[in-house]
Symmetry: C2
Subunit: 337 residues, 2 copies
């Protein structure tokens, strides 16, 4: 346990991700990663009366599924780290209401999956709990009406706009077990280069991704090519290009980079403009496709760096720019000793 | 390091709160705890153009003040745990934007100060960072217009309504040093007994306080009278009476209980109905009056149990009840070995 370099925490006893679950909506299920989701729900209401309740239901089902896959009950979980995009994080609070598990509520915008994984890993590695879970969600319909306009309004989307993913992901961590291990955590600083266009989140978040990734490489002494995959959260097509540009300026080529927002939809066929976004984007991609590939041995080392745009509609209306944040978590295949 | 009982984490190397700062607005400065605040700002805008920016400025100043008192710079801080009540926690995000410190964003509603202290203590005690800070804020004017009605509307407040405190508190923790120590953390479960009145937060949160306190006593084997003070966050007058009633039913008298929401205003003279509330209520009371009393040796053992109501205006409009949460942190005077 300890500090490495300026900003990175090393987990001397790397906890194992013993199970994970990913749940998604119909549009996400129709995309290239469709087969990797545990459940694809055709009904955008998930059987509930409102989209907010639908999001809570989706988050709750994802947690149940992951806990069940690990062969655990809720009463076995030491604690849960959870957050989402809805005002006052009600997706999480109402989704976790029936579980009786101690909760640490988070707000990291779309970086929440990495933040939750980081804190869950730190908690388990230090021995505070034998097991802990990280879970998060987003829902296109609840996000649109909260951040932008009522869906019925049918507003035109700009070419840089990203599509909020309807999806949730959950990872259950334990002190010992088979499964990908979490070895390092690099929490992010808030970075704001002055981007004010709330329809171009990728551009607003790319500087934060660059800042955290650079810190991670400097702290650990690892070059980018140490990783089979450097996976950002939801920079989308535009933000990813900006990120690779920053590194090219340093003479570094991020060839092994991909982005959850680019992976989850078919750019040509699904009309999503800038790509996918939302807490549920990186959560469902990580907890389905990526952890699956690590378990199967297709990848050995993955750096998961989820990004968040820390704005609100109020700050944008008050003329503010958009601060970004990025939290990075280093994953390796294998099991605990 | 480890687990004690079902829900409590023990910090074998208890970190020290090496400094703290509390900043408040004019009404809070006029109350019984006025002398305990580092700064009382007469201007509700804190020199800014909007109340949201005022809240960020207040939070930022409080962090600077606490870090300075510890003889540190921002670059010495391992990380900051921060959150607030504003949509998307923009009080924190914009307040921390200029600091260059790694951030873990939280949402625990009015329990945020205890949640932040808990995670900062866990982080420092485990050796991930030498120092960490917990900071939070609330502002009467930004909260009223977000959760209730525009201030200009002049709505009548019900007798059970609480008054959101304009205030912020910050504690800086270090692995060694003089100052009160954090010895135990009991994170809370989400408890919802069906209260639907958004103007009676005390009643909604009291069951969560009871649940966490009972778990803490059971896990640690400590009786309530082990503590010189059991300090709940912002149950106010009504919620505190309900909490004491729950314990009386168990044959336990909580004689050493007080509540930040009852302490911060003069019930008779300041027309606050149910008492104070908001993240800044428990944060400014703890970081001013209470930590001062621990440092001065007036108290030896204090259990700080901040409470949060996990609702949003949307959930209330959709007919939902109000889930509550309570996180408890055990403090003792003295210094690290």
């Amino acid at each position: 346990m300890g500090r490495m370099g300026k900003q990175t925490f090393v987990l001397d006893s790397p906890p194992a991700i013993v199970s994970s679950a990913a749940v998604a909506g119909k549009k996400e299920g129709d995309g290239p990663l469709g087969p990797s989701f545990d459940i694809v729900c055709e009904d955008s209401f998930f059987g509930e009366e409102t989209w907010e309740k639908a999001e809570s239901s989706m988050l709750s089902r994802t947690l149940s599924l992951a806990v069940g896959k690990a062969g655990l009950d809720f009463s076995d979980l030491g604690c849960v780290f959870s957050g989402d995009l809805l005002n006052q994080c009600v997706g999480s609070s109402f989704g976790l209401r029936g579980t009786d598990v101690p909760v640490f509520g988070l707000y990291g915008a779309c970086s929440t999956m990495a933040e939750g994984l980081a804190l869950a890993a730190m908690t388990v590695s230090a021995g505070y709990a034998e097991t802990a879970a990280a879970v998060t969600s987003s829902h296109f319909c609840s996000a649109e009406r909260q951040y932008r306009t009522p869906l019925e309004y049918g507003g035109q989307r700009t070419p840089t706009a990203q599509w909020t993913v309807t999806g949730a992901g959950c990872a259950v961590l334990a002190a010992s077990g088979a499964g990908p291990l979490i070895t390092h955590v690099t929490p992010g600083r808030i970075v704001d280069l002055g981007v004010k266009d709330a329809n171009n989140m990728g551009a607003a978040m790319a500087p934060a991704a660059y800042d955290t990734l650079r810190a991670h490489f400097a702290d650990t002494g690892r070059a980018p090519d140490f990783y089979d995959l450097i996976l950002t959260g939801d920079l989308g097509f535009i933000g990813s290009e900006i990120l690779r540009g920053f590194f090219e300026r340093d003479g570094v080529s991020l060839e092994n980079h991909n982005d959850c927002g680019m992976m989850i939809f078919d750019r040509v066929g699904q009309d999503v403009h800038g790509g996918g976004s939302g807490c549920g984007c990186s959560a469902s991609v990580l907890c389905g496709e990526i952890l699956g590939a690590l378990r199967a041995g297709r990848w050995k080392n993955v750096l998961f760096a989820a990004t968040g745009a820390l704005l609100s509609p109020t700050t944008s209306m008050q003329g503010e720019s958009i601060p970004g944040i990025c939290c990075a978590v280093a994953l390796t295949s294998g099991e605990t000793r």
